[in-house]
Amino acid sequence: MDTNGATTSSAAGGGSTSKSSSKKHSRKPVISTFTIIGIIFIPLGLVSLSASEKVVEIVDRYDESCVPSDYSNDKLKFIQNPSINKSCVRTLTVPKLMKSPVFIYYQLDNYYQNHRRYVKSRSDKQLRSVSDEKSTKDCSPEDKTVDGPIVPCGLVAWSLFNDTYVFSVNSKTIEVNKHDIAWKSDKEHKFGSNVYPKNFQSGGLIGGAKLNSSVPLSKQEDLMVWMRTAALPTFRKLYGKIEQDLQANEKIQVVIQNNYNTYSFSGKKKLVLSTTSWIGGKNDFLGIAYIIVGGLCLFLAVCFILLYVIKPRPLGDPSYLSWNRSPAGHPN
């Protein structure tokens, strides 16, 4: 059998000329891998959880209560009638000290911004440069009016959120900073500084907010935020920032202009005030998930240690080879 070269060492058949290294085959690495994962994950989870715990969040649903009681059976009529005053006053109590900046979000529920018809109905080219203002092929039915193309075109822009919030504490208005709520790249690269709204919300159907046609798109941050379509039917979008601390138990008065129609599809509207930490907003799941996975790994490590104690198998023990295990000599 010399010709079969049982003694030659290179893996000629495998063709690999490089140095080969075998994986470590031992229970110890298995146990230690699980242990290490556990040891890393659990503290990470705890840190994340505590970061999430530090976040103070106020959520206030106002769609129901901001409808006058005489319209409560026909909310649609209320919201669609432009002549009715939509003002609504809500009072929020700050549960804990909220350190600046406090982010203001509006939250919509059951709103399918991720619907394919909706997502596609926009023109990124047009938003960017004046010369492309006619490229509105994806925007139908909000592509053009008799006066020319709509800028910004499409359903996304057309349905721009138009509730407004005014905050005050003890009758003293709190300033809301609406700058820098959009991504920097949006402002600088995606929305042109020489592109101005044109023919917007001028058709028969008015969707959402109107835009000041003398302000270039690169300054319309509400639009930018809105046009970053959300991934899920429940989403929050940044409305502005309050750049002062809110003390615990402070009562905040919010005057809401309840303009946006979510009543037709029974969507909820919520106003959210939230601080952030390094993990962002309130998000306990991340920490919990880390702790669970880490715990699971430690549990597995313990299991394997126990199993090893109960039923040890020395590594490389030939008695575990198939021909030694099956009584007939060969398992077939």
């Binding site: 991720n114 080219k125 940044l238």
Partner: protein, 1129 residues
Amino acid sequence: MARGRIRAKLRKSHLYSFCLFRSSGSGGQSIGGPGFSRTVYCNEPQVLNQKPYRSNSISTTKYNFFSFLPKALYEQFHRVANLYFLGCAIASLTPLSPFSPVSMIAPLVFVVGLSMAKEGLEDWRRFMQDREVNSRKVHVHNEEGGFGKKTWEDVRVGDVVKVEKDQFFPADLLQLSSNYEDGICYVETMNLDGETNLKAKKALEATLGLDEDDNFNNFKGIIKCEDPNPSLYTFVGNLEYEGKVYAIDPTQILLRDSKLRNTEFVYGVVIFTGHDSKVMQNSTRSPSKRSRVEKKMDYIIYVLFSVLLVISLISSFGFAVEIKYSMPVWWFMRPQDADEYYSPQKPVISGLSHMVTALMLYGYLIPISLYVSIEVVKVLQATFINQDIQMYDEDTGIPAQARTSNLNEELGQVDTILSDKTGTLTCNQMDFLKCSIAGIPYGVSPSEVELAAAEQMANDQEDQVCHTAIPELNEETGNYTYEAESPDEGSFLVAARELGFEFFQRTQSSVFVREKYTASGKPIEREYKILNVLEFTSKRKRMTVIVRDEEGQILLLCKGADSIIFDRLAKDGKLYLEDTTRHLNEYGEAGLRTLALAYRKLEESEYTAWNNEFQKAKTSIGADRDANLENAAEMMERDLFLVGATAVEDKLQKGVPQCIDKLAQAGLKLWVLTGDKMETAINIGFACSLLRQGMKQICITESGSEDKQEVKEDILKQITNGLEMIKQENDPHAAFALIIDGKTLAYALEDDMKLKFLGLAVECASVICCRVSPKQKALVTRLVKQGTGKTTLAIGDGANDVGMIQEADIGVGISGVEGMQAVMASDFSVSQFRFLERLLVVHGHWCYKRIAQMICYFFYKNIAFGLTLFYFEAFTGFSGQSVYDDWYMLLFNVVLTSLPVMSLGVFEQDVSSEVCLEFPAVYQQGPRNLFFDWYRILGWMGNGLLCSLIIFFINIIILYDQAFRAEGQTADLAVLGTTMFTCIVWSLNCQIALTMSHFTWIQHVTIWGSIAAWYIFLLIYGAVSPRISGNAYQILVEALAPAPIYWQTTLLATIACTLPYMAHIAYQRCFEPEDHHIIQEIKYYRKDVEDQHMWTRERSKARQKTKIGFTARVDAKIRQVRAKLNKKQ
């Protein structure tokens, strides 16, 4: 078009041999009639009424310049998966598409383009080969009267060509003359029938004068002959020359692709050109075979298609419902202005058109790159096989060759090997060893087989040594260098020379023999005039020459198979019958090939009368000529006087017994199918340890009765008895051998009996079928393949093995002495039988595991990815919006996950090649299909499902509605999609890293490179204009990289995804380790070096319990001795 028809026929027929040995037409047809219409005007190719025969240029390419695109595309879209992707690509141009057209079309173009490029390259090679052949030069007679050089492709029917020594014939020629006066020439037909010996061809007497260039200026003639056909050994036609008609027979025909040898030059007229030539008519592509793993893969694809259909239906239904009930209230979607697709009035149409969208969206469940990746991987695997130095035969310089790369993994699942004997187990190299003349045996040395047998059986035989044999054997044909018609003859000549009879000259009509040791002490030259030669055919199994010696005595000398000769003996010719028969049996048992010799003295008158008859038969024309000739020969070959018998040794090839031993230990069964006679086959069986003493031989033979029914019943009874015997056997060590001959096999293979026969055969440790025809070899192979449902491998070297090689799951050709026919038909070729061990046990095992793991992983990764799209669907009102950017999807299959799995497919080794060889039991993982059973496949699919759920829900819960970073921004579609995709890239690549057990730098580069490629892509994609990247512009730099949550999510999802698999393998390794795990551990801790005793013990235990092979024989012997000792005590 005739060629096309023949091709089609060939393709339909599963057995190559049916076509090869088909006789040309039946009787009653004559020249000029149907099938015999060809007319060739010699030396006048420009004659106007000459039919336009095909040109001599050949093309073996599958495609030409124009047909490549349509034909190759057709081939590609023959695959269901590709067709589906084509449909998707077309649909992507409509508004129904969830993706941009480029992201659907680009991967398809890439994948199909790669496969087509491979096809094109292979075809280009064929084209270059054709061009090389077509542009070979040959001397052709031209109008100026001389011979000028022309390329082969310009040779026309009717041209006179001059072919010189060692050149190939450019077309099928009628030989006119040669440099020999008698018009003889010698050709080597290796490319045609695989025989290496030379064949003598002879020109017609009438044209012998045409042996100089100048003689052809006025040469005119008309050849009328048969139409092109694939029969190599027949030719019917005549030549009209100088007002006379001469019959042409196959001896005047020089076939294309054979080579002129030992002759300075020949002149010939071109009869068949190009694709009309016999060799081209014979060419056939071997049927394409697919491995079991691949066939099973199709089922998995069907499963995935069903899953795809189901989730598309769910999705369409959901969409229709949403459109009907939700759409009208979604004012922001402007339902009143919606086209049909979104119109709430027509939810059914919406649902149906959404079906198309959904089928495209979830197309990621079907791995588009699977086929092309497997193809590439297999080609690389095949190069490893081709370049394995340990399967390189230094003597012949021929390496092993994977001729198709389709079947690499099938090599790892072989259950039964069907082997030819001659040329495969034995060398087909004959040594003249013994003879029996007039009842007295003569012999020189014990044969190798005997030596081996003697060694192994400890059962020496007496050898009689005698140097004074004076055989009267000088009938042999051949030439001075003893390149004879069969290896037997060559060895006779050598032996005869050693004994003092030197055969030194041969002309067409005479042979000259120099007798060295005469009574007078002087060498005498004797001349024997050859009057007639009655050729050897496999049907006649004999050959006869009629010679006239110097005294004028006419002698008929006949040699052939013993049974044939014995039938034709005269009453008084049986003088030595008894002794000779005994000697023949002895020789047969010693593994020698035997021939019986006989002669008869003829009276002048008797001869003349017969010769007239014979000549008439010879010149008769038409299809019944062969039969006439045979009848004439039959008349003469009777009343013979037995002289004796000769025996030549059939040498075993190097390493054969050891290889069989190893293969048996790996659990493989070996059947020997041979054309040899039973005794020889049995003896080779002993030499190869397929048989041993103490093994119970079940010989099934035919009773010889006339009644067919009776014979069948008898055979059935024998089979039943055999089964009964096996059933009643109590000794666990008892082994049975089944031996059956061709005649009996013909009955046993009939439909009503074959399963019973198979039942008996699989119970036996070894099966030897002798005297089987090529067709029967193929039938037996089919029986085993279909009857047991297990993988069969056929190995052989000659043209007679072609049928079996093509029929078996894997055909292996021995690229040795007997030419190329078997190799051309085979899937793998090795130059020696012993390389089979490495081919199967090392390469087969590896390739099987690699491909199995690769396919499993492919399905895993596509399920893990594809299902996330489906889950997200449910959150978008089933609208068909994808969570990922089109570009991510585009790269997923092609760049980000394909290279690691390919490196797995090419380089993975569970154990090293040495261990594979040392532990034959490891091979059994393949035939038992441990790595590609449904349990494992479904396990991987389940893992994919789990992985998709983990990734999706971790991501959507973490990136739900809150800010995902300290700056307060919330996650949009692009952020969620990119994060989720990052998790997928990490998880899938870490998963494959866990799957691999063999790492080189290549694996590291591909795995970690793929992950790095993703980030690099994101950077580049984020840097290009937002016109292209849209919401993904600057996404990594601006949004994700600064957000710790992004990195945390990646880590969490990756670990959570791989955790189930880690726990699984950890558990399996600890408590249910497989053999290769233990061996890996032993190797890792170097226990094999520390405890060599254990290592040796395990190695010997790793053998399958086997009843054949050398080891088994030793075991049996030991048992025997022990039993004896016990008795004594």
